[in-house]
């Protein structure tokens, strides 16, 4: 019996800290198992800039700016299964702590009002993505198939979750590996 074809996986960090990606690397020797069964498409690990057709997309981080929206939409369009990975993708997480602040005042506080910045302008380069007025979890912008909580989810949780997905089992994350922190 020949080995099953490899599944294509893409990963990305939106408004996140890459902690979930670090945790993905924390699956230790399972990295070898994983690489036997998957090949990576767009990911910080491949440095590919766009996502091709994939079986699984892992999205870390919430949606804080217009670029996040475009990238997330690309992932949704290209990935058969889309996974929200970690606290920020699931409820906005730490970046969403700004949600009770006015984003305009945030920008002017950072770029104009700080000592030594009195004459500065808020950057208006079209290359820069504009921030949304609030940070949103990814399920508020696209349809999401699975959620793996944690800040970050442990390597153990990620490995179990991916093993389920690769084997075609409905992923189940339960006590004690289910954590919101």
């Amino acid at each position: 019996m020949s080995a099953p074809p490899k599944l294509r996986i893409a990963t990305v960090s939106l408004a996140g800290c890459f902690g979930c990606h670090m945790s993905l690397l924390d699956i230790d020797e399972h990295v070898f198992d994983l690489l036997q069964r998957v090949e990576l498409d767009r990911s910080p690990l491949t440095d590919l800039k766009h996502c091709g057709p994939c079986d699984i997309g892992l999205v870390e981080g919430g949606v804080c700016n217009s670029e996040n929206v475009h990238v997330l939409r690309e992932f949704r369009a290209q990935c058969k299964t889309l996974v929200a990975l970690g606290a920020c993708a699931i409820n906005g997480g730490l970046p969403a702590q700004r949600n009770h602040l006015d984003v305009g005042r945030c920008l002017s506080a950072v770029f104009q009002s700080r000592p030594g910045m009195d004459t500065a302008e808020v950057p208006d380069d079209p290359e820069l993505p504009l921030p949304l007025d609030k940070v949103h979890p990814i399920h508020e912008v696209v349809r999401v198939d699975y959620f793996l909580p944690g800040c970050p989810p442990s390597g153990e949780a990620i490995w179990q979750f991916l093993s389920d997905l690769l084997a075609g089992r409905t992923p189940r994350v339960a006590y004690p590996i289910l954590h919101f922190d």
Binding site: S66, R73, V103, L130, E140, R143
Partner: protein, 601 residues
Amino acid sequence: MSQDPWASAVADTVGEFAARPEYLLQMLIRLQEAENWLPPEALTALAAALGLPRARVEGVAGFYSFLHTRPVGRYRLLFSDNIIDRMLGSQALMARLCHTLWLAPGQVSEDGLVSVDVTSCTGLGDQGPALLVNGRAIARLDEARIDRIAELIREQQPLDAWPADWFRFDDNIQRRDALLACPAQPGDALQAALAMGRVGWLAQVHASRLRGRGGAGFTTAVKWQACRDAPNPDKVVVCNADEGEPGTFKDRVLLNSHADLVVEGMTLAAWAVGARRGFLYLRGEYRNLRPALEAVLARRRTAGWLGAAIGGVAGFDFDIEIHLGAGAYVCGEETALLESLEGKRGTPRIRPPFPVTHGYLGRPTVVNNVETLAKCCLIALQGGAAFAATGTPQSAGTKLLSVSGDCARPGVYEFPFGVTVRQVLDACGADDTLAVQVGGAAGITLAPYEFDRRIAFEDVPTAGAFMVFDNTRDMFEVAHNFVHFFAHESCGFCTPCRVGTAMLADTLDKLAEGKGSAVDLIEIEDLDRLLKQASHCGLGSAAPNPVMDGLQKFRPAYERHLMHADFAPAFDLDGALRRARQITGRDDAAAHLPQHQEPQP
């Protein structure tokens, strides 16, 4: 001693109500009359005078829509926002008034003179659009009247100088039957019941098979008997005149023109259960009726039909006081009403125990609807068997219907139970009818294939609302309006209703804005099911009714609001960048986001 400007107003108010904490809501209503709102120091002074924790007073003041803990205009105008008022043009009239007064809805004018906002159905659907000005209702609004109102406000004319006939309600009685044609004089029914003795009278009520007209349809005699048999001898009778169900107004007509029947019904209930104390809980929207009701009570005291030894029967002592509500639909639920009567937040209680054993201040209490009590007079006059012989076997007697919406003759119709929806539509002159909402927002939406169904507890039960929608109407918009009503009126006690009604309203907003997708219909159905099954009281469990019926019977009206995408965000993506565009001064293509996903190459 502090020179608190509120000290004397508070002392007067507290004195008027004998410093009894169960009158807290009544005191707050009275205290608010001074400034039109309740400043923090007023609440502090009131709490101190009553020896209550201030937080409790704040909790009550914060619960009721008509109590204001932030400044409102000296003229506070609230447009009735039921779908029927909207169909009669209320939104355009409100916009006209706001425009004339240079005002945005919900805001207070800079000089503090006026504020304009919306409120739940004011019970004037047959003569709308309607509004409340400082709590007093004005019906039959049109552009001329709105313009005149703006002038009166600008001239700062006191309400007593406004045209008095504006504040009068029309009855619009379109069909009379046993109750509305009852020729009895005040006291006739009571005399008949007194002659039967307490036990004999209760037996007649049993024989009548009278069921509650408030919607639930509980057998009145069973309720009375349970109250009478409860061990505590200190019984209470409450008339539930908190007619808040959108689209209903028949109790308003009974209180306006047949108040003697209502009060006599309360007295008949007191005779059966042995009560000495009675309350008429009048919704705040009907406070125009209060002076006339007080006059009826006074007249009946003089005549010996209220007070000590009623009808000359030693030991039959009973009197009634009127309590005002303050803008809380949930207080129509009997245990929430009792909480409100006790001066608390109108949160429905856990049952059991039931009010018949533990009601007002823990005393055995019967709570009956206005119409139910009035019907008791017919039973006393004709006997239980004669009453039971009318209507249908499971729904004895007649039913008052409040007919409004797309028909030639809106108003109150009294029909024997068992009348078909089609017969009512014919009587009120409705053509080309798309749907009828029976029982109010909490009721049932009927499609034309159901118009041969009967108004009866065993088929289409109703507290009285009968709203007609013709083929020009969008049943999605009807349900959208009702869901916002429930979200506004949820007391917030239980999780499913507090969050679920808000979420449902948000989701319908999303559809209304054209951002809906197939996923949203699934979410709506899940929320509906949760509300129906897990809510603490009838408000939450009825809240999804219009949407559940709508999705079943008028699904295309919902589907019309869906995009073809399998999912769409609820929030406005491009709008979410507006603030950043403003602060950066950008308006390039990359500074915008399309709401929908672009097709992939």
